[in-house]
Amino acid sequence: MMIESMGVLRVVAEAVDAGGGIVPFQIIGFVLAVVGLVFFLGTSVGMVRFPDFYTRMHAAGKGDSLSTMLILSGFALITMEDFSLGSWLLFVKIMGIVLFIYITSPTSSHALMRAAFEDDEMPLEEKDLNKPSKVKK
Protein backbone atom coordinates (compact mmCIF):
# COMPACT_ATOMS: atom_id res chain seq x y z
CA MET A 1 0.00 0.00 0.00
CA MET A 2 2.89 2.31 0.84
CA ILE A 3 4.62 1.56 -2.48
CA GLU A 4 1.36 2.10 -4.35
CA SER A 5 0.69 5.49 -2.76
CA MET A 6 4.28 6.48 -3.45
CA GLY A 7 3.77 5.65 -7.10
CA VAL A 8 0.57 7.69 -7.30
CA LEU A 9 2.28 10.64 -5.65
CA ARG A 10 5.19 10.40 -8.08
CA VAL A 11 2.80 10.53 -11.02
CA VAL A 12 1.16 13.62 -9.48
CA ALA A 13 4.55 15.21 -8.93
CA GLU A 14 5.61 14.58 -12.53
CA ALA A 15 2.34 16.00 -13.80
CA VAL A 16 2.77 19.15 -11.77
CA ASP A 17 6.45 19.37 -12.54
CA ALA A 18 5.70 19.59 -16.24
CA GLY A 19 3.64 22.73 -15.54
CA GLY A 20 5.59 24.71 -12.95
CA GLY A 21 8.59 24.26 -10.71
CA ILE A 22 6.82 23.81 -7.41
CA VAL A 23 4.85 20.82 -6.17
CA PRO A 24 1.60 21.90 -4.46
CA PHE A 25 2.52 20.70 -1.07
CA GLN A 26 5.71 22.64 -1.18
CA ILE A 27 3.33 25.60 -0.99
CA ILE A 28 1.94 24.09 2.22
CA GLY A 29 5.55 23.89 3.38
CA PHE A 30 6.12 27.59 2.65
CA VAL A 31 2.98 28.51 4.58
CA LEU A 32 3.97 26.34 7.57
CA ALA A 33 7.47 27.84 7.69
CA VAL A 34 6.18 31.41 7.58
CA VAL A 35 3.62 30.68 10.33
CA GLY A 36 6.43 29.23 12.44
CA LEU A 37 8.46 32.39 11.88
CA VAL A 38 5.52 34.46 13.18
CA PHE A 39 5.44 32.33 16.34
CA PHE A 40 9.17 32.81 16.78
CA LEU A 41 8.68 36.58 16.44
CA GLY A 42 6.25 36.29 19.38
CA THR A 43 8.85 34.38 21.36
CA SER A 44 11.61 36.92 20.82
CA VAL A 45 9.37 39.89 21.59
CA GLY A 46 8.19 38.14 24.76
CA MET A 47 11.73 37.33 25.85
CA VAL A 48 12.66 40.99 25.68
CA ARG A 49 9.56 42.67 27.04
CA PHE A 50 8.16 40.43 29.78
CA PRO A 51 9.09 41.55 33.29
CA ASP A 52 9.49 38.25 35.12
CA PHE A 53 11.32 34.97 34.74
CA TYR A 54 8.13 32.91 34.72
CA THR A 55 6.43 35.04 32.10
CA ARG A 56 9.55 34.85 29.95
CA MET A 57 9.49 31.10 30.42
CA HIS A 58 5.87 31.16 29.24
CA ALA A 59 6.86 33.01 26.07
CA ALA A 60 9.93 30.91 25.36
CA GLY A 61 8.60 27.47 26.26
CA LYS A 62 5.50 27.58 24.12
CA GLY A 63 6.52 29.73 21.20
CA ASP A 64 9.91 28.10 20.80
CA SER A 65 8.70 24.51 20.62
CA LEU A 66 5.73 25.30 18.36
CA SER A 67 7.72 27.46 15.96
CA THR A 68 10.51 24.88 15.74
CA MET A 69 8.02 22.15 14.95
CA LEU A 70 6.25 24.25 12.33
CA ILE A 71 9.42 25.41 10.56
CA LEU A 72 10.90 21.91 10.52
CA SER A 73 7.66 20.41 9.17
CA GLY A 74 7.60 23.10 6.51
CA PHE A 75 11.14 22.35 5.42
CA ALA A 76 10.42 18.63 5.48
CA LEU A 77 7.72 19.31 2.89
CA ILE A 78 9.86 21.76 0.92
CA THR A 79 12.79 19.37 0.49
CA MET A 80 10.40 16.67 -0.77
CA GLU A 81 10.91 17.36 -4.48
CA ASP A 82 10.70 13.89 -6.01
CA PHE A 83 9.10 11.00 -4.18
CA SER A 84 12.10 8.69 -4.28
CA LEU A 85 13.20 6.49 -1.40
CA GLY A 86 15.95 8.91 -0.36
CA SER A 87 13.60 11.83 -0.02
CA TRP A 88 11.18 9.70 2.01
CA LEU A 89 14.10 8.84 4.32
CA LEU A 90 14.88 12.55 4.65
CA PHE A 91 11.25 13.32 5.42
CA VAL A 92 11.19 10.67 8.14
CA LYS A 93 14.44 12.00 9.64
CA ILE A 94 13.17 15.57 9.80
CA MET A 95 9.90 14.40 11.31
CA GLY A 96 12.05 12.48 13.82
CA ILE A 97 13.65 15.78 14.86
CA VAL A 98 10.16 17.25 15.16
CA LEU A 99 9.07 14.36 17.41
CA PHE A 100 12.24 14.71 19.49
CA ILE A 101 11.68 18.44 20.02
CA TYR A 102 8.00 17.80 20.77
CA ILE A 103 9.14 15.62 23.67
CA THR A 104 12.27 17.39 24.91
CA SER A 105 11.46 21.08 24.69
CA PRO A 106 8.68 20.99 27.32
CA THR A 107 10.88 18.69 29.43
CA SER A 108 13.79 21.11 29.50
CA SER A 109 11.42 24.01 30.18
CA HIS A 110 9.96 22.08 33.09
CA ALA A 111 13.40 21.25 34.51
CA LEU A 112 14.57 24.86 34.28
CA MET A 113 11.40 26.16 35.86
CA ARG A 114 11.58 23.68 38.68
CA ALA A 115 15.21 24.63 39.32
CA ALA A 116 14.22 28.29 39.41
CA PHE A 117 11.34 27.62 41.78
CA GLU A 118 13.52 25.68 44.20
CA ASP A 119 16.01 28.51 44.02
CA ASP A 120 13.31 30.73 45.62
CA GLU A 121 12.84 32.73 42.45
CA MET A 122 9.43 34.13 43.31
CA PRO A 123 6.92 35.21 40.68
CA LEU A 124 6.30 38.91 40.25
CA GLU A 125 3.31 40.24 42.14
CA GLU A 126 1.18 43.27 41.55
CA LYS A 127 2.88 45.35 44.21
CA ASP A 128 6.26 44.71 42.56
CA LEU A 129 5.08 46.30 39.33
CA ASN A 130 4.83 49.70 41.05
CA LYS A 131 8.49 49.61 41.99
CA PRO A 132 10.36 50.18 38.73
CA SER A 133 13.81 49.64 40.25
CA LYS A 134 13.19 45.94 40.76
CA VAL A 135 11.77 45.42 37.30
CA LYS A 136 14.43 47.34 35.44
CA LYS A 137 17.30 45.20 36.56
Partner: protein, 103 residues
Protein backbone atom coordinates in the same frame (compact mmCIF):
# COMPACT_ATOMS: atom_id res chain seq x y z
CA UNK B 1 12.57 30.14 -5.56
CA UNK B 2 13.40 27.60 -2.89
CA UNK B 3 16.92 29.03 -2.54
CA UNK B 4 15.61 32.56 -2.04
CA UNK B 5 13.01 31.35 0.42
CA UNK B 6 15.71 29.52 2.40
CA UNK B 7 17.96 32.60 2.41
CA UNK B 8 15.15 34.85 3.62
CA UNK B 9 14.01 32.35 6.26
CA UNK B 10 17.53 31.82 7.58
CA UNK B 11 18.43 35.49 7.80
CA UNK B 12 15.12 36.34 9.48
CA UNK B 13 15.67 33.53 11.98
CA UNK B 14 19.16 34.87 12.66
CA UNK B 15 17.84 38.41 13.14
CA UNK B 16 15.20 37.16 15.56
CA UNK B 17 17.93 35.45 17.61
CA UNK B 18 19.47 38.82 18.49
CA UNK B 19 16.87 39.56 21.25
CA UNK B 20 17.91 36.27 22.85
CA UNK B 21 21.52 37.51 22.91
CA UNK B 22 20.23 40.65 24.62
CA UNK B 23 18.52 38.47 27.21
CA UNK B 24 21.74 36.52 27.78
CA UNK B 25 23.59 39.81 28.23
CA UNK B 26 21.27 41.50 30.75
CA UNK B 27 19.32 38.57 32.18
CA UNK B 28 18.87 39.08 35.94
CA UNK B 29 18.96 35.42 36.91
CA UNK B 30 21.07 32.57 35.52
CA UNK B 31 17.85 30.81 34.58
CA UNK B 32 17.01 33.57 32.13
CA UNK B 33 20.38 33.13 30.49
CA UNK B 34 19.98 29.37 30.34
CA UNK B 35 16.51 29.73 28.83
CA UNK B 36 17.80 32.05 26.11
CA UNK B 37 20.69 29.68 25.37
CA UNK B 38 18.17 26.86 25.09
CA UNK B 39 16.03 28.80 22.61
CA UNK B 40 19.10 29.71 20.54
CA UNK B 41 20.22 26.08 20.48
CA UNK B 42 16.84 24.81 19.32
CA UNK B 43 16.74 27.44 16.60
CA UNK B 44 20.27 26.53 15.51
CA UNK B 45 19.05 23.01 14.75
CA UNK B 46 16.39 24.58 12.52
CA UNK B 47 19.00 26.84 10.92
CA UNK B 48 21.13 23.80 10.09
CA UNK B 49 18.25 22.24 8.17
CA UNK B 50 17.76 25.53 6.31
CA UNK B 51 21.49 25.70 5.44
CA UNK B 52 21.24 22.12 4.19
CA UNK B 53 18.33 23.12 1.95
CA UNK B 54 20.48 25.95 0.60
CA UNK B 55 23.39 23.65 -0.22
CA UNK B 56 21.18 20.79 -1.55
CA UNK B 57 22.75 18.48 1.03
CA UNK B 58 19.90 18.10 3.52
CA UNK B 59 20.71 14.41 4.01
CA UNK B 60 24.04 15.39 5.56
CA UNK B 61 22.89 18.42 7.55
CA UNK B 62 19.89 16.64 9.09
CA UNK B 63 22.25 14.41 11.06
CA UNK B 64 24.03 17.49 12.43
CA UNK B 65 20.65 18.92 13.39
CA UNK B 66 19.72 15.72 15.27
CA UNK B 67 23.02 15.81 17.18
CA UNK B 68 22.58 19.48 17.97
CA UNK B 69 19.06 19.02 19.32
CA UNK B 70 20.22 16.11 21.49
CA UNK B 71 23.17 18.09 22.89
CA UNK B 72 20.93 21.08 23.56
CA UNK B 73 18.47 19.01 25.57
CA UNK B 74 21.23 17.35 27.58
CA UNK B 75 22.88 20.70 28.36
CA UNK B 76 19.59 22.22 29.53
CA UNK B 77 18.89 19.28 31.85
CA UNK B 78 22.44 19.22 33.24
CA UNK B 79 22.62 22.94 33.91
CA UNK B 80 19.21 23.02 35.58
CA UNK B 81 20.19 20.08 37.82
CA UNK B 82 23.49 21.76 38.67
CA UNK B 83 21.95 25.11 39.61
CA UNK B 84 19.16 23.40 41.48
CA UNK B 85 21.39 21.20 43.59
CA UNK B 86 24.10 23.67 44.62
CA UNK B 87 21.89 26.61 45.48
CA UNK B 88 19.10 24.60 46.99
CA UNK B 89 21.35 22.85 49.51
CA UNK B 90 22.87 26.10 50.73
CA UNK B 91 19.47 27.70 51.03
CA UNK B 92 18.25 24.67 52.93
CA UNK B 93 21.05 24.96 55.47
CA UNK B 94 20.34 28.66 55.95
CA UNK B 95 16.69 27.91 56.43
CA UNK B 96 17.50 25.25 58.99
CA UNK B 97 19.70 27.73 60.87
CA UNK B 98 16.99 30.38 60.84
CA UNK B 99 14.44 27.90 62.07
CA UNK B 100 16.75 26.78 64.89
CA UNK B 101 17.34 30.38 65.94
CA UNK B 102 13.64 31.05 66.05
CA UNK B 103 12.85 27.99 68.12
Amino acid sequence: MIDWFAIIMGSTLFLLMIPMVYRIWVGPTPFDRMLAVNVIGTKTAVLLVIIGTLFDRVDMFVDFAIAYALLNFVSAIVVSRYLNRTISLREMEEREKAKGAKV
